[in-house]
Symmetry: C2
Subunit: 212 residues, 2 copies
C-alpha cells in the first residue's frame, strides 16, 4: 500500500481521519458513519466518502465503518503503523514543553530522547528524560536511521542543528525555527509555522472587516 | 489591497517572503534579487517572480528589490501591518513555552496576555506576564475584538476554551489541541498539527524506502 503516491493534501486528510478514529476508539465507539467521521473531522461527508472510496472498500453504504478496521487500514496507507521514534534537538522552553506534553493519541509516536549542545543542560532532566549531548545523535541514528528529528533550537542555530542531523543520517525533520533551513534533496524538512498561521488568520479577519 | 481575495497557498508564500525579508533586513541587507529571495525561502525563483508580478511592480528586472519597500508592500497585501495582539489560553507547558520564546521576527505580533482557569496558576508568572483568569478574556476582547487567541490547553479542554473565546467575541483562533474543534462559521480556526506533520514525514520516508 505504502508505495502508492498520495498527494500531501490527501495525506493530511487521512491523518485527520486517523486522529478522529483514535479519539472515537478511546471513547469506546465501535462503528462510525461517514457523516459522524465528517462532523468529527470538520470535513464534508461527501469528501470523506470520496477519500475512502479511493483507497478501497472500507464499509457498506448505510452501515458505517468499523472504527478499528478503518484506523488500521488508514495507518497502512499512511505508512504510520508502528511509527518511527521522534527525537528533540534543543532543550529550551519549546523542546522541554514538547517533551512534557508528549505525543499521546498520535498513534504510537513517542519522544524518544532530547539533545542540547549546552554543557550546562546536558545530564539534567527534561520531563522524564535526561538531556543528552548533540554528539550522541549519531549513535541514535546508527541504531535506527528512520528517526524523525524535531528542531526546537532558537536564535538562528537551526541550520547548524540541521547539518548535524543530516551528517548523522537523519532523513526527516520537523522544525520550529522561524528561519527557513537548507537541506539536501533527500532530506524532508517540514515546519511548524506559528507566524504563518497568524498571518493567515490576520489576513482572514481583516479581509472580512473590509468586505462587511 | 487587503480586500483582494488571495488563495491560502499564496498567503502562505507571501508570509514566507515577508519572513525572509525581515531576516534580510536584520542582517542589514538593502537590496535582494528574486533569486536570493527564492534561495532564502526555499522556493523557485520563477515562482517568486510570478507571485510578485501578480501583486504589482515591486522591482526592476535585474536590479533586485528594495528589501524594506517589498516588505511593506507584502505586509499591506497580507493585511499584517500593525498585526493584532495574540493572547494565550492555557498556562501549561506549551502555553508558557510560547510566551517564553515570544514572537520576535514575526513582524510585530506579540503575546499580549495569558489566561488559565486553574486557581493555583492565576496570579503566578509565566515569562514576564501574570497569568490571568479566563473570566478576564471578555474584558480584553471588549477593548479590541481583533485579537488572535492561541489555545494551548490539554486533555480535551479545547472545545470549552474555544466556546469561552467565541462568547467573548473572538474571531480568530490558533489551536494546539490534538482534537478538532467545532466553531461557528464566522470564527476562523487553524491548527498547529505536530501529529499530522509527523504523519506526512513518516509517509514520505517510508515511501522512499519502498521505492528505492
Amino acid at each position: 500500500m505504502i508505495a502508492v503516491k498520495v498527494s500531501e493534501k490527501s495525506i493530511r486528510r487521512l491523518s485527520h481521519y486517523a486522529r478522529c478514529l483514535r479519539l472515537a476508539k478511546l471513547r469506546g465507539e465501535l462503528i462510525m458513519t461517514s457523516q459522524q467521521l465528517a462532523t468529527n473531522c470538520g470535513i464534508s461527508s461527501a469528501a470523506v466518502r470520496r477519500d475512502l472510496s479511493i483507497y478501497g472498500e472500507f464499509g457498506k453504504q448505510g452501515s458505517g465503518y468499523n472504527v478499528n478496521d478503518l484506523l488500521v487500514n488508514i495507518e497502512d496507507i499512511l505508512g504510520t503503523t508502528n511509527p518511527p521514534p521522534v527525537i528533540i534537538v534543543g532543550a529550551g522552553s519549546i523542546g522541554c514543553a514538547l517533551m512534557d506534553s508528549g505525543l499521546d493519541g498520535t498513534g504510537g509516536y513517542i519522544y524518544d530522547s532530547i539533545f542540547d549542545n549546552d554543557p550546562a543542560k546536558i545530564g539534567k532532566k527534561c520531563g522524564e528524560k535526561i538531556i543528552q549531548s548533540t554528539d550522541e545523535i549519531k549513535n541514535v541514528l546508527e541504531v535506527n536511521n528512520e528517526i524523525i528529528a524535531v528542531i526546537a533550537v532558537t536564535g538562528g542555530a537551526g541550520q547548524q542543528a540541521l547539518e548535524n542531523l543530516v551528517q548523522a543520517g537523519c532523513k526527516a525533520i520537523l522544525s520550529f525555527t522561524l528561519e527557513p533551513l537548507r537541506a539536501p534533496e533527500n532530506v524532508e524538512v517540514r515546519y511548524v509555522e506559528v507566524s504563518t498561521e497568524l498571518d493567515v488568520l490576520t489576513h482572514s479577519i481583516r479581509r472580512k472587516e473590509r468586505v462587511n
